[in-house]
Amino acid sequence: MALLQISEPGLSPAPHQRKRAVGIDLGTTNSLVATVRSGDALTLPDESGEAMLPSVVRYRAGDAPQVGRDAKAMAAEDPLNTLLSVKRFMGRGLGDIKMLGTQLPYEFGPEDGGMPFIKTVQGLKSPVEVSADILRTLAQRGKESLGGELDGAVITVPAYFDEAQRQATKDAARLADINVLRLLNEPTAAAVAYGLDKAEEGVIAIYDLGGGTFDISVLRLSRGVFEVLATGGDSALGGDDFDHAIAEWIIAEADLSEQLSPSEQRTLLAISCHAKEQLSVETSVALKYGQWQGELNRQQLNELMDPLIERSIRACKRAIRDAGVSLDQIQNVVMVGGSTRTLRVRERVEAFFSQAPLLTIDPDRVVAIGAALQADILAGNKPDSDLLLLDVIPLSLGLETMGGLVEKVIARNTTIPVAKAQEFTTFKDGQTAMAIHVLQGERELVDDCRSLSRFELRGIPAMVAGAAHIRVTFQVDADGLLTVSAQEKSTGIESGVTVKPSYGLDDGTITRMLKDSYAFAKEDMSSRSLREQQVEAERVIEALVAALAADGEALLSAAEFSTLQAAVDSLRQCHNVGTADEITAEIERVGQLSEHFAALRMDVNIKKALAGHNLDELDK
């Protein structure tokens, strides 16, 4: 009989133990979770064998929310409490949502300028909470399948997602108690799934038409490094729009009143969606809605869809130009998203790129599979992997200047992480404060760009106009999240914000939502924060033990080595018996002690990377 290995209580697991990591595709219409097992990435099914989880949540009075198919089945019956496609609302204000142009059955809560809350029998729900409920269901599936708490997850977002939308996605993960290893752009994930990272060199286009969003990305691949050269798309274009176009056609043909009830709308959209799917196989379908009967043929459908598909092709042209490549340099075209099953879409894409697109992996699963492969690497399960994804920011970031104009600080398609500073000055004599308004977008006028955040720099010494030097620094991290700070140079007065987008949630709201989410959970807040700190402590211990084993002797004096060794022991002790706050403090202490060591190691890494170049070339 094989003996089971059990480690000493409180000891971190042996470094070679596999981490439990998953990839999550949080989609507009459907979501999936996938993981890597014995080298293969596979999507994880629910108990009835279904991998796809409809991104639908139904709230019920006095009971836990229903998520997925059960919820979707109730959509027509209970439209006000059954929330669909909330991804379209993430990081958006009510104004934007109305601009989506579709008839929405929901009742929205009082508008306060932020992300809209939807009225349900369980109170007001933010799109972030709804997404968290979906994520929680998927994470649970991962836990059951992998046999324990997850070490981390990669969650995918459209490459086109702006700052506010990314932040909202991260907030949802936080609510669902998921450790996010990385937000990954969906198209990049798709390219990884096709193993295109194994090719030596090449330019790849990813055409991703989902239910609610369209993305085009141009990637360059060279020896394991993926560079996103350009991204573009339309965050309000998707297969749902085909359904709406068909529904509107039926409304016109049947001469129906435009004021349909929510459940009538749902029924009509379901008929439309079904017709669209059938017409990829057949050349004409019979339609029936209420008293009305009619027929839609493929030619008519194509005419309804062409203007929408044309919008996607225009975005392709633009992205290719932004990438600085020509059409004939593109070696592969990858199709992603359920809507690429639509025959007409395939035809038009093939005609535009003059090559047959790649379709061998299920376009609904390809993103989750790529995310799982990346999660496996980021969690440290594949230390020899060469794969690195260098992402860019999808939209330019800038500041409002006089006259309602936007001064760009970081141009779109800049590789992240990135930091850039720009200097500004005062407009009036004696001006002592400055309003900093952070914007995202390509247009020149403030009104045409998306407002991300506003804050003030106060206490500028009174000077004549134009004499003060205010340095504003933008920092974007590897997940694409922005921090802005401002400093007056002569006095050093500083002010800064982690950009909480205008449509984001403040920390207080998140805490309240966290509490709410425990209403139907077994765990409470304090046990969760203790567990979070314990997990962080384990991570720190493991990283430091591995680092000491690898480079400790070479880089540290005996005294330094034993100091760090002692720090590890004391953190381990604290991990076992300490409160959340005590563990946090101990982690901080160990962090400070090991800072110098970490910097030394980084230096060694760089020298290693450049080994063999420096000397001879510098001599030249």
Partner: protein, 176 residues
Amino acid sequence: MDISKNYFQLFGFPVQFSIDEPELSKRYRELQKDIHPDRFAGKGDREKRLAEQFSTYVNEAYQGLMVPLARAEYLLVLAGVEMDPQNETTNDGLFLMQQMELREALAEVPSHENPEAALDEMSAQVKQSIELLLQEYETAYNAGLFDQCKASVTKLHFVTKLSREIEKLEAQILDY
């Protein structure tokens, strides 16, 4: 890593204008492979933060060397030559005249009978003048004539701006 290292030292290149661009890209990717925050995703927050800083600097340095105009300006910074490109003007009359003509030609492109061909021709012209100005810069830099370098950089800003306007118009005309 020493952030006080200049961009050239960071990538192991001599401080000079000409640079082997494919080799620079190669070294950039090798560096990022080792220090990108993704390499520290499962580790403690502090290591990730450190990686974030280094990776940011490597990106900045790469952009600073890869774009010829940025590289030209950076060499002047290293040489201690001050310049404020936003407010520099050129007093080279001939150059200004050419610029004006080019701008006029650009304004007429939309009414041209074949605007696409007209744009292509302009792009080629602008590209060539950028090449010439970069050569001019390099010669001046190698001879230590920093005032001439500054003049070239100022002109390069003019021409680069024009090339951006050509791109913008191209996008409009070709309906991107």
